[in-house]
Symmetry: C2
Subunit: 202 residues, 2 copies
């Protein structure tokens, strides 16, 4: 069986959130699995010199409209969080801690964390808010709290972020199908054509 599709995303990224609602079904249609791999856009921006969208003149105003309009276009529930963007270290650590034990469950947790941030306006950059989301998801709050403070988990999450960046992830979502990288929720159409046709030379 072909390797999973690597789905790199930042928990603070609306376009990552939109893609997260679509990527599994798209992959399944072509018999592919998806490996969810949260990373930190902030770490990539240190290399690219990028700036969070909302603070870019002109582009920031456009982006806020495009987020909301695109949510409707994709049919995904969405509200601009009161605090945006955020550092997504806490949810990324919770994810990789759980992922070590159960990738499928970690993926479901990621969906719950995304929903908490982009639907329920819960600021998951606060470790206690991430812990509360994990608890509602069915995990033990004490275990999650311990995991977020565990140097081994911190190291694991950092190593995954470094790997994402080494793979070329500079934006969110960044989706790698075999060795082909696609940036943006708006590349889902190209990904579908790529999967359906076996790719093309260019």
């Amino acid at each position: 069986m072909a390797a999973p599709i690597d789905f790199y995303f930042d928990f603070s990224s609306p376009y990552g959130y939109f893609a997260s609602a679509k990527i599994d079904a798209l992959a399944a249609k072509y018999g592919r699995e998806v490996a969810w791999r949260p990373f930190l856009l902030g770490a990539a921006m240190k290399i690219t010199g990028g700036v969070p969208l909302p603070s870019v003149p002109m582009k920031g105003d456009y982006a806020r409209r495009d987020f909301a309009r695109s949510a409707k276009f994709y049919g995904v529930e969405y509200k601009l969080p009161s605090t945006f963007p955020i550092s997504s270290q806490a949810p990324a650590r919770a994810f990789y801690w759980l992922n070590r034990k159960d990738p499928k469950q970690a993926q479901a947790l990621a969906a719950a964390l995304y929903r908490a941030y982009f639907v329920d306006d819960i600021n998951i950059s606060n470790p206690e808010d991430t812990i509360a989301v994990c608890a509602r998801f069915g995990l033990k709050a004490e275990e999650v709290r311990a995991a977020l403070n565990d140097p081994g988990v911190k190291e694991l999450a950092k190593a995954e972020v470094d790997k994402a960046i080494a793979r070329g992830a500079f934006g969110s979502p960044y989706i790698v199908v075999d060795d082909e990288a696609f940036w943006g929720a708006d590349r889902l159409e190209q990904i579908e054509k790529w999967l359906a046709s076996g790719g093309w030379k260019y």
Copy 2:
């Protein structure tokens, strides 16, 4: 009849070029016309602090692949020009000079200039190369040369660039349907849905 769709683009932008191959047919399908409005991304970047894609670490490498892959996806002939990106002042001035007399012909000239740059690798940032393209297009070289040096034409082109930026154009293509702005060739799908449905609240 509804106002034309405003199609803002930079002659140096591959995504503007891809959209230019699609926008007229898309608009016509919904009984709409298109006003082509070249502008200068460099002028917008002075406001946004943006940097030309190819020189951004990580993103530049991705962009070069995405240009070529997207060209195939859209079915548009394309080759990365030897000099890229370029300042597109000369073709923008030629366009607005002709546009004053005949917008339809100016639009056809814009398509010829885009093709010269992205298919035939002619560096249209050089006024003499823009003049040569205009001559092959059927215009009188002497008239074009005079136009490119005409302070009135320079002023006209500058005023159009200023208007584009005042309208919010920070990237290419930037397409305004009534009062709704869409950035990127990858928003053509949303534009189609918007035109087909009469738009949506968000």
